[in-house]
């Protein structure tokens, strides 16, 4: 391998290590278990969404509705517990059902109605942003809220549900690792194994690279595409569950940045190890990369309003790595 090949392959990892080394020196307390956990926690939800959208990128599609699926799931979980007075299990199941149904509809629109992926999921995004406000007539959902008809909601967030967002698991240090980080790691390993080691994942890559060749090799291309959107929807709804559990309320104003952050992580992932294609490991590294950068800058007292600028800059650099340096110019 030439130097250039090495640069393409390991450039981004080296950048990540260099960044950590820099912050370790420059920012007090950056290197500590708590700080590491904080970084993971801050990217847990966007990371889960990013892993889901990676599945749609693999089949050559895109899912813009993940952010609104997550907030819809958050509102649904809150509504189920606070207004309908259901328990945590019902709330979680309701969220997952939303994820599956939205994924199926997205897939149906794209595969059978032939709506281009970006447009179909953009439409779905709008639809969900509106839909999630209808049951409460635009109000946020919190314990003891006043309903539109003047009555007071009697339900409350169950302790078991809130634990998903707040409980910390002992790991050498007592109460160190939040449940959301465990969820992120488990899902990352699952989707990574699925995409890299199973025949289904392999075929999804084939569909994304040359749909006709995959079809002539006997793949049910339509089914694979729909499944990709279902995976994306379910992952987004899991992100929504974590969001609701962390906030402890159904806040209609939250989750604005979820879509962009998740997509950025997935696209940064193209550059990791010179893959030049969507991949689960890269997506996870991409999410952590953004987390490290923001945590470090915050600890060095960079103002909060510079965050989006930093994320954007990282994304642009990563895209240059992927497309210009590796010379593959192909998604």
């Amino acid at each position: 391998m030439t130097l250039r090949d090495h640069a393409i392959r390991y450039g981004f990892i080296v950048l990540l290590v260099g960044l950590i080394a820099y912050f370790a020196v420059a920012a007090d307390g950056f290197v500590s278990p708590q700080s590491a956990v904080f970084i993971f926690q801050s990217v847990a939800i966007t990371g889960v969404l990013a892993l889901g959208v990676t599945a749609t990128l693999v089949v050559g599609g895109f899912d813009l509705s993940i952010g609104s699926v997550a907030t819809s799931a958050m509102m649904a979980a809150s509504y189920a517990m606070v207004v309908l007075e259901q328990n945590a299990i019902v709330a979680v199941i309701a969220c997952l059902v939303i994820g599956v149904v939205v994924g199926l509809i997205n897939g149906w629109l794209i595969v059978y109605m032939r709506v281009p992926d970006l447009l179909a999921t953009l439409g779905m995004m709008f639809l969900l942003l509106g839909l999630q406000r209808i049951p409460t007539e635009g109000r946020s959902i919190a314990t003891g809220m006043t309903m539109p008809d003047g009555s007071v909601a009697n339900g409350k967030f169950s302790e078991a549900f809130l634990a998903l967002g707040r409980h910390r698991i002992d790991f050498f240090i007592p109460s160190l690792i939040p449940v959301s980080v465990v969820v992120l790691v488990v899902l990352a390993v699952l989707i990574w194994f699925f995409l890299e080691y199973t025949r289904f994942g392999r075929m999804m890559y084939a569909v994304g690279s040359n749909e006709r060749a995959a079809e002539l090799a006997g793949a049910p291309v339509k089914a694979y595409k729909i499944w990709a959107y279902v995976i994306s929807g379910v992952f987004a709804s899991i992100g929504g569950i974590l969001l609701a559990a962390r906030l402890g309320r159904g806040d209609i104003a939250s989750g604005n940045n979820l879509l962009l952050d998740a997509v950025a992580a997935a696209l940064i992932g193209y550059a990791v190890l010179g893959a030049a294609k969507p991949n689960a490991f890269g997506t996870a590294v991409g999410a952590v990369f953004v987390g490290v950068l923001l945590q470090g800058l915050t600890m060095m007292n960079a103002p909060y309003y510079t965050q989006d600028f930093v994320k954007g800059a990282v994304l642009v650099v990563a895209l240059v790595f992927t497309f210009a340096l590796s010379g593959r110019g192909k998604r």
Binding site: T198, R199, R202, M203, A214, L216, G218
Partner: protein, 503 residues
């Protein structure tokens, strides 16, 4: 003769890198004549057209238009000088979202002397004049997107004629037209011929050629291999010159098959086409030959379940066979190496190993998890078998030569046993040694399955097959055992001549 040629090309050469595509073409076009240019894929027709229309620069040679040197460096210059080309893809010639009138006058919207403001009244008047000259009966206010393919084609030609060219080049203009639509195009061409335009008409369709040609020029491997202008035109000679035989030919020893594997009964591919019946036996290699567009790919896709026949039935090993998808065909043991490997075969993001295993992932996995060792062993075995030149099974396909890429495609489908193995144009874009390797492999491994090959070049059929079927007009018109073959009869069948009684 040649003194009054409107357009003369002499000694035209063109190479791409090492690869010489045109090896000294000389061609005359005469006013008021339709010259048909015939040539198989890769003969260099489109390169020739692109040089004449100013898209490519020529390597060597001269071009003269009406006695003047003709030296276009851009398509616009060629058009201004009076050489207009209507390309195969109709939609390149029209803007779908604009109306007919604007399309007809589109070229005046830009360039020198174009007025800054768009004046609808002027446009309509001008368009009306163009349409009238051409005898075009289309509503000028209709959006082009709403027109039929034939009408769009008419508009594209009319638009080209608005420049009043001396030379008009039509590149396979009927390839997506119905026969009624084609008739309208032909009467338009007759009209232009009457107006003294020199027309170069590129086509594979014998019915078009019989209807239109004043002269036929055949191309083969970058040179003119025959010119036919004595009436009545020698159509079979033209086909022979285009597909003709090379001097050295490896003949095969034709084998017979004892056991029937596949039968088709009264299979109908297209509206109005005669039904096809055929029987393929174990151990034999059968080639189907015929010109481009006679339904070879349609037949291949029908057998592979990608396309449904209009009528008829098929049987595999005596059992009814009616695949609804490629998946079902593969499950029944019918494999297809599809035409055009870049479009329908190669998965660009995958290395050799993954390209070979692609259709057989289920057989190479347990509980959905890939058995990588099994996969790698299969790839290595196939690389050895076919002599694929590569560093390892991890090479990307883009790093391989065309011949090696095609070997990977054939190796993919031969990595597991099949009952009926179909190959559609397996030798396209493949060098001679790779072609020999693949053909030898096919013959050596033919036992136990039926092998069906679709090729345009008759040589390729003669080199590989035990039996040759000839297709014309979406049906099979002849059958030959590949020893002591009556080539004149075979060529007559390819050229769509009067049908002989079945052999």
């Amino acid at each position: 003769m040649g003194a009054d040629a409107v357009f003369r090309v002499e000694g035209l050469r063109k190479s791409f890198g090492q690869n010489e595509v045109l090896g000294g073409i000389s061609l005359d076009l005469f006013a008021g004549e339709v010259t048909v240019l015939m040539g198989a894929n890769g003969a260099g027709k489109s390169t020739l057209v692109k040089i004449v229309s100013g898209v490519y620069e020529r390597g060597a040679g001269t071009m003269r238009l009406a006695g003047q040197a003709f030296d276009p460096s851009t398509p616009a210059e060629a058009i201004r000088a009076g050489v207009v080309t209507v390309h195969q893809n109709i939609n390149d010639g029209v803007v779908a979202d604009l109306d007919v009138a604007t399309n007809l006058t589109l070229d005046r919207l830009s360039g020198k002397g174009a007025s800054l403001l768009f004046k609808p009244a002027n446009v309509r008047a001008e368009a009306w004049a163009v349409a009238d000259r051409m005898g075009l009966a289309i509503d000028l206010r209709a959006r082009v997107a709403d027109l039929s393919l034939a009408d769009r084609q008419m508009v594209a030609i009319a638009r080209a004629m608005a420049h009043q060219p001396k030379v008009l080049i039509l590149d396979e203009p009927t390839s997506s037209l119905s026969s009624a639509e084609a008739d309208r195009l032909f009467s338009l061409i007759d009209r232009l011929r009457g107006q003294g335009v020199a027309i170069l008409y590129i086509s594979h369709r014998m019915s078009d050629i019989r209807r239109l040609a004043d002269r036929i020029v055949s191309m083969r491997d970058g040179i003119i291999s025959g010119t036919f202008d004595r009436k009545p035109l020698d159509y079979e000679g033209a086909v022979n010159a285009m597909l003709g035989r090379k001097i050295h030919l490896d003949r095969v020893v034709a084998r017979n098959s004892a056991r029937v594997v596949f039968t088709a009964e009264s299979l109908q591919l297209a509206q109005g086409a005669k039904p096809i019946s055929m029987t393929l036996g174990a151990g034999e290699v059968v080639a189907v030959t015929g010109l481009v567009g006679v339904g070879k790919t349609a037949l291949a896709e029908t057998l592979f379940g990608v396309r449904r026949p209009l009528a008829g039935t098929m049987h595999m090993d005596g059992r009814p066979y009616a695949p609804g998808s490629a998946r079902e065909a593969i499950a029944a043991g019918v494999f297809l190496v599809a035409k055009d490997r870049a479009m329908s075969g190669i998965v660009g993001g995958f290395n050799i190993e993954r390209n070979i295993s692609l259709p057989f992932l289920k057989r190479m996995s347990g509980f959905g998890v890939m058995k990588k060792r099994v996969e790698r062993a299969a790839a290595r075995r196939q690389i050895d078998e076919f002599g694929i030149v590569c560093r390892s099974e991890k090479d990307e396909l883009s790093a391989l030569s065309g011949g090696n890429q095609q070997k990977v495609m054939v190796a993919r489908w031969m990595s597991q046993a099949s009952r009926l193995f179909i190959l559609d144009e397996p030798f396209q874009g493949v060098d001679i040694s790779a072609r020999r390797d693949i053909a030898a492999k096919l013959r050596a491994s033919a036992d136990g399955r039926a092998t069906l090959l679709f090729v345009t070049e008759i040589d390729e059929a003669l080199e590989t097959a035990d039996r040759i079927l000839v297709m014309s007009e979406q049906t099979i018109v002849g059958e030959h055992r590949n020893d002591d073959i009556d080539l004149d009869r075979l060529l007559a069948e390819v050229a769509g001549g009067p049908l002989h009684s079945a052999a």
